[in-house]
């Protein structure tokens, strides 16, 4: 167990790669209110030359990218969080303010600012211009969604707005790429030091008072002949369907079911293919390498261990494709709206819905997705319950045990067999544990004034392939990096423990290996659950990642470890009583055996306190429930 703690800490330590030190880079910050198209512009300017980390010491996500100017000159772009003002009320606003004033340690003070505003909602978005312009940094005011503005009959005199504000103004469409060259021109100018600051015609409001700033923005808008566009007709029409009192919930359920079905059914063939590829390439490597320690380490340790993670990549990609489509199109805000009433019953809110849905694939991206929840306590509650949702890493052991112990019979008619019903029951158990825990948390340590639910409904938009592709690329990179490092280290550690100490120069019998010793040592603790020492080794190895238990059991029994393996099913039948098998399922439903999750919770909550509490709580729940399950089956309650 201590080895696994080590590997998690190094995975965390390697997370932010060091910034390459060149001659002082030209730093440009991008700032704008939520839904202004900030990320779209950032992606447009940087493409794949970007990385995601956290601002030092806080949980606010920092995206840094490089934009290539003509010639070889490069500009470092820093994407700041979406904020409506610079009043340091929230962590996001504090970080934005600190970065812009050069007070954020480890982040150089920006040389220039790109202020991006939604041109279709200029009255409200211009409010942010006042505090930004008073920073006296060279600033380009970007009016985004130019296509929407003209389509809906809105108008703005950009020249007049520029002279009013004393800053250049560019009317662009970041999604289509129209006018982006003006942004590049501005950055070329500032990096050459030729940008000049004209004093603004209008006086900037000194007090950061919302009504006063809004009044100022209105006056500036009138001065620049701003005509607000007509209401978005298509959004109204689509909302009439998606928020229809009867069709709305049906479409919502269909979307959720569709996402689920695709993640499980649709990804299955790809995952099987990938699994076969990994097994085949493992055999191939095995044939190339000479027999001996090296081959065993590479094939059994490294290849199978890393392979067991890569297998989940199709699911992760599909999940983020869906989340990307839902978010970019604007449906996600509607889904959160529809889910809010139900989530409120468990003390959560509509914005918790998407992270919890994602957690069915993997808790790591789900926990990262909780960043959209502004209320700290709601966010923490969502993070703490997310690992209860049945993630795909639980499926291998579920499939193995269900196939070995539950006879396939029709359960509810011909449609639902007993095995599928057992699997559904396990899903329900995880969900139940999550909502009970949410209630417990929200009525005790995370009790908060029900903070008002405020959610802006963005107009519907067509998602672009470019943005979807970037999102999938980005998230799968993060997933593979984080999970891959943890799994790799732990797989190697397990292999070493199973092959030492050498006896007469040969690897020992598994029972006499270090892994075996550990298994024997924990046996008294897990005996009440109906597990023997071999299952104990599996449990310990699965603290790194749940799916490793199948591979570990395979190693222990000397059988190729896949959940379809009949040999492994027989071994399980010999090794476990029905009570023990049931207890094992219950244990996996509730226990937090995932180093990647622990690492990401530590990162997102900014310390070891919450992951420790969460790990302890989930382990106790898992242990007690598994023991009850074992006792219940043994005493014949279920016969």
């Amino acid at each position: 167990m201590s080895d696994c703690h080590d590997c998690s800490s190094c995975a965390v330590a390697t997370a932010p790669p060091p910034v390459r030190a060149t001659a002082k880079p030209h730093v440009v910050a991008i700032i704008g209110p939520p839904n202004s198209g900030k990320s779209t512009l950032f992606n447009r300017l940087t493409g794949l030359r970007q990385k995601v980390a956290n601002f030092p010491g806080v949980t606010v996500e920092q995206r840094v990218g490089r934009a290539k100017m003509n010639g070889n000159r490069e500009v470092t772009l820093v994407d700041l969080p979406g904020v409506y003002s610079l009043n340091p009320r929230s962590e996001d606003e504090q970080v934005t303010r600190d970065v812009l004033t050069g007070q954020m340690q480890g982040v150089p003070k920006p040389d220039a600012v790109l202020l991006i505003l939604d041109s279709t909602n200029l009255g409200r978005h211009l409010v942010l211009a006042a505090p930004i312009l008073s920073l006296k940094l060279p600033t380009l005011v970007i009016l985004n969604m130019a296509d929407d503005l003209s389509n809906r009959g809105g108008k703005i005199d950009t020249g007049e707005l520029a002279s009013q504000l004393g800053a250049p103004v560019a009317l662009i469409s970041a999604a289509k790429g129209d006018g982006v060259e003006k942004v590049f021109q501005f950055m070329i100018g500032t990096s050459a030091g030729t940008a000049s600051l004209a004093p603004p015609k209008v006086e900037l409001p000194i007090l950061q008072d919302v009504p006063r700033c809004r009044q100022w923005a209105r006056d500036v808008g009138i001065g620049a002949a701003y005509e607000a566009p007509n209401p978005p007709l298509w959004t109204r029409r689509l909302d009439a369907i998606f928020l229809h009192p009867i069709f709305g919930p049906f479409i919502f359920l269909a979307v959720v079911a569709g996402v689920f079905q695709t993640i499980f059914r649709g990804a299955r063939p790809i995952m099987d293919g990938l699994q076969r590829l990994i097994t085949l390439s493992g055999h191939w490597i095995g044939n190339v390498l000479p027999a001996g320690v090296l081959r065993s380490l590479v094939v059994e340790g490294v290849w199978n261990g890393v392979g067991s993670v890569i297998v989940f990549l199709p699911q992760i990609l599909l999940l983020f494709l869906f989340i990307g489509i839902l978010e970019d199109s604007g449906y996600l805000a509607r889904a959160a709206l529809i889910a809010d009433r139900t989530m409120a019953k468990f003390g959560l809110q509509g914005k918790s819905f998407i992270p919890l849905l994602s957690a069915y694939a993997c808790a790591v991206p789900a926990i990262m997705a909780t960043r959209t929840i502004e209320n700290k306590r709601d966010r923490l509650a969502t993070i703490l319950i997310a690992p209860f949702m049945t993630c795909s890493a639980r499926l291998p052991i579920y499939f193995l045990i269900i196939a070995a112990f539950i006879k396939e019979r029709p359960f509810l008619g011909p449609l639902l067999g007993t095995q599928a019903a057992a699997l559904l029951g396990l899903y329900a158990l995880g969900f139940l544990a999550a909502i009970v825990t949410a209630r417990l948390l929200k009525s005790s340590i995370l009790k908060s004034e029900r903070t008002p639910f405020m959610l802006e409904m963005p107009p519907y938009r067509m998602p672009t392939l470019r943005s979807l592709g970037l999102r999938m690329y980005d998230r799968s990179k993060v997933f593979l990096h984080r999970a891959g490092t943890v799994i790799l280290v732990c797989a190697v550690v397990l292999w070493i423990l199973a092959h030492l100490p050498l006896q007469n120069g040969k690897p020992p019998d598994i029972s006499d290996s270090f892994a075996g010793m550990i298994g024997h040592a924990v046996e008294p603790v897990i005996k009440p659950l109906g597990f023997n020492w071999k299952i104990g080794i599996g449990l310990i190895s699965s603290i790194a990642a749940r799916e490793t238990i199948v591979a570990t059991l395979g190693t222990i029994y000397g059988i190729e470890g896949t959940e379809n393996s009949v040999g492994l099913q027989q071994a399980m039948q010999n090794e476990l009583t029905p009570g023990g098998a049931f207890a094992l399922l219950i244990f996996f439903a509730f226990a937090m055996q995932c180093m990647s999750t622990i690492a990401v919770v530590r990162r997102e909550t900014g310390g070891w306190k919450w992951p420790a509490v969460q790990f302890a709580y989930m382990t106790v729940v898992a242990y007690v429930c598994a023991m009850l399950a074992n006792v219940a089956v043994r005493s014949g309650i279920f016969t």
């Binding site: 279709t120 409200r124 919302v210 709305g248 008002p452 405020m454």
Partner: protein, 132 residues
């Protein structure tokens, strides 16, 4: 039976919970002329006093925000400023949260928040005007 129109100057005292009829008063009220209420819990004849009482599509002008300062600030940043016209739009199934059209955008609020946003007694459309 307490109607919103009788609350006078202290709308704070009439949270929606107070409006729930209890059985005992129900028997007494059968003798009185029953006051018709719509789905928003408002007397059909009286003007709305909070955002939560506006019907879908009916415009109201915000007078003040009866919420803690930080919440008020967030709401104001989203466009819920005194003097602004607000029009309720569609809601989630079950009636809340509801989407409100305000200051060029659409923002969803729960009823508990909307009922703390007090409207002007005589609704006058005065977009952008602000109370000093």
């Amino acid at each position: 039976m307490v109607g919103y129109n009788q609350c006078g100057t202290s709308p704070l005292a009439c949270s929606p919970e107070l409006d729930v009829l209890d059985k005992s008063s129900d028997t007494e009220s059968t003798m009185q002329v029953s006051v018709k209420k719509d789905a928003n819990g408002r007397n059909a004849a009286s003007p709305p006093t909070t955002l939560a009482q506006l019907r879908e599509g009916e415009a109201g002008t915000l007078d003040r925000l009866d919420v803690p300062e930080d919440v008020a600030r967030r709401l104001m940043e989203l466009g819920f400023l005194p003097g602004h016209t607000i029009v309720p739009a569609r809601s989630a199934p079950g009636g809340e949260p509801r989407v409100y059209r305000v200051d060029g955008s659409e923002v969803a609020l729960r009823r508990e928040t909307a009922s703390r946003l007090i409207l002007r007694a005589t609704p006058k459309p005065a977009i952008g005007a602000c109370k000093s």
